[in-house]
């Protein structure tokens, strides 16, 4: 298998999935994992910091800024859908 660099082939929507491209890589990963697993999303909404760091499958380490952002989203979000939408918006660059 050959590997070459062809960055033009990456759609804009996928750039957040590249660790070097996302300004919030930990939150990006968290958003995707939570979107895939409703149990994780529910845990994150109710106990965001512990659920992120202690998740048995894919622990995500959040820096102080990520923690503050996550706590802020959880304060505002009433449902899992709202939580995921806010988290994705922050990853997309929305102001916190």
């Amino acid at each position: 298998m050959s590997i070459s660099r062809t960055p033009q082939a990456i759609p804009n929507s996928a750039l957040r999935l590249l660790p070097g491209q996302s300004t919030r890589p930990a939150l990006t990963r968290l958003a995707l994992l939570a979107a895939a697993n409703p149990s994780l999303a529910a845990h994150l909404l109710h106990d965001p910091l512990n659920a992120a760091a202690k998740h048995p499958h894919y622990p995500v380490w959040l820096d102080d800024r990520d923690q503050a952002t996550l706590a802020d989203i959880c304060t505002r979000a009433q449902t899992i859908d709202e939580f995921l939408a806010d988290l994705a918006d922050v990853v997309d660059g929305a102001p916190v």
């Binding site: 298998m1 590997i3 804009n12 491209q21 979107a35 894919y58 918006d89 660059g93």
Partner: protein
């Protein structure tokens, strides 16, 4: 070849949220795969995605394929055998990413391309995808090993409702027993009065005893209906005349008021239209309020019963000048087993409220500590008989 990916203008990076939304909206594994298929062109263009999972012996079940053609669905494969098949179909660039969770093998994500090779960026995205897929597979496996949340929820809900129904029935049986005791006390009180050789009102007293016994029988019938879960009120409701009910109830209460010479009784009975209700049960409510009022005046006082009409309603007030009810007690006065008497089960007001509400009425109260309490019963007047007024 350089290892870094050049930065992209931030203005072009704005469509991550729809991918998250698509994946999050998937309620089950098939819809998750559909969402994945919809997102794939935005994450890994021109890439085929196959998932092998549910390992049995050395092979895996082919769980998902993003291509609509040659899907190998439900076939068993090893990673090597699937890679060979993909090569045969023209997918010359193949990469395999292990799906793992907590060190446990879940399966494989096979990415393949026909014409272009994988870049480091595409491989990084593929790794992100692998963790998302693994997370979903873990979720589905866990969901299969647990009872359906909806089913468990409904079971608990049904048990709760059953328990509440039993509690209500127990409460009503206990309340009815409480009121039968009141009537037995009426009968024994009148029997006591009849032993006095100076009493000249035998006929009136015997009539009161018969009414108490009849009311007691009705309450016992209600208790039996509750015990068998039958409707307690079918065919029992009729036209009732409040002034008559009040006078009859005062006669029933006579053995209790007879011994309380320190209490004066005042009745103000205005002409009012009839109401729809059960006479025995309405007497039961009034008797409860009267006995409560007597008990609330240990130092004596005045008991006032007033009936009048206001618009479509007929009202009865039962007032005492007794000790009153504290604000703390007022908040739970209609709760079962709340009692302010020196003795008693505390069921009278709870049952009274239930009876009045079943006839479409309300029961409210006002009270001041040290000044007394007024209970007000409001019942809808029978409009068809509004012109018939009994005083």
């Amino acid at each position: 070849m350089t290892s870094s990916v050049p930065a992209y203008p931030s203005s072009t990076i704005h469509t991550f949220a729809p991918i998250v939304r698509l994946l999050a909206e998937a309620e089950d594994l098939p819809s998750f795969f559909t969402a994945l298929q919809g997102s794939l062109p935005h994450m890994l263009p021109a890439t085929r995605l196959d998932i092998l999972s549910d390992q049995q012996h050395c092979a895996y079940q082919h769980l998902y394929c993003s291509s609509p053609y040659k899907t190998f669905s439900n076939e068993s494969h090893t990673v090597a055998s699937l890679t060979k098949l993909l090569h045969n179909q023209g997918y010359y660039h193949v990469t395999n990413i292990e799906l793992k969770s907590m060190g446990r093998d879940i399966g494989w994500l096979i990415l393949s391309r026909q014409n272009e090779s994988f870049t480091t960026s595409l491989l990084a995205i593929g790794n992100q995808l692998a963790s998302i897929i693994a997370m979903r597979l873990v979720y589905e496996q866990e969901a299969q090993t647990q009872p359906e949340p909806d089913s468990a929820y409904h079971q608990i809900k049904e048990l709760q409702e059953e328990l509440q129904a039993w509690q209500q029935r127990t409460l009503r049986v206990t309340g009815t027993a409480h009121d039968i005791r009141n009537l037995l006390m009426v009968i024994s009180g009148y029997a006591e009065l009849l032993t006095d050789p100076n009493v000249a009102t035998f006929q009136t007293d015997i009539q009161a005893i018969r009414r108490a016994a009849n009311d007691g029988q009705q309450l016992l019938r209600r208790m039996l209906n509750i015990a068998t879960n039958a409707s307690p009120r079918v065919g029992e409701s009729s036209v009732a005349l409040l002034p008559t009910l009040i006078r009859d109830t005062l006669r029933l209460a006579h053995p209790f008021t007879e011994s309380r010479r320190d209490i004066t009784i005042k009745t103000v009975l205005e002409p009012v239209p009839p109401i729809q209700g059960n006479a025995a049960e309405l007497r039961e409510v009034l008797l409860n309020l009267i006995l409560n009022a007597i008990n609330a005046m240990p130092q004596g006082g005045q008991l006032t019963i007033h009936n009048f009409s206001r618009g479509p309603l007929v009202l009865i007030t039962v007032s005492d000048t007794g000790v009153g009810i504290s604000p703390e007690q007022q908040t739970r006065i209609f709760q079962p087993f709340t009692t302010f008497k020196y003795q008693g089960s505390g069921l009278g007001l709870s049952i009274s409220q239930s009876i009045i509400e079943q006839f479409g009425g309300t029961i409210t109260f006002e009270s001041s500590v040290g000044q007394g309490t007024t209970f007000t019963i409001a019942l809808p007047a029978l409009q068809s008989l509004a012109n018939y007024v009994e005083a």
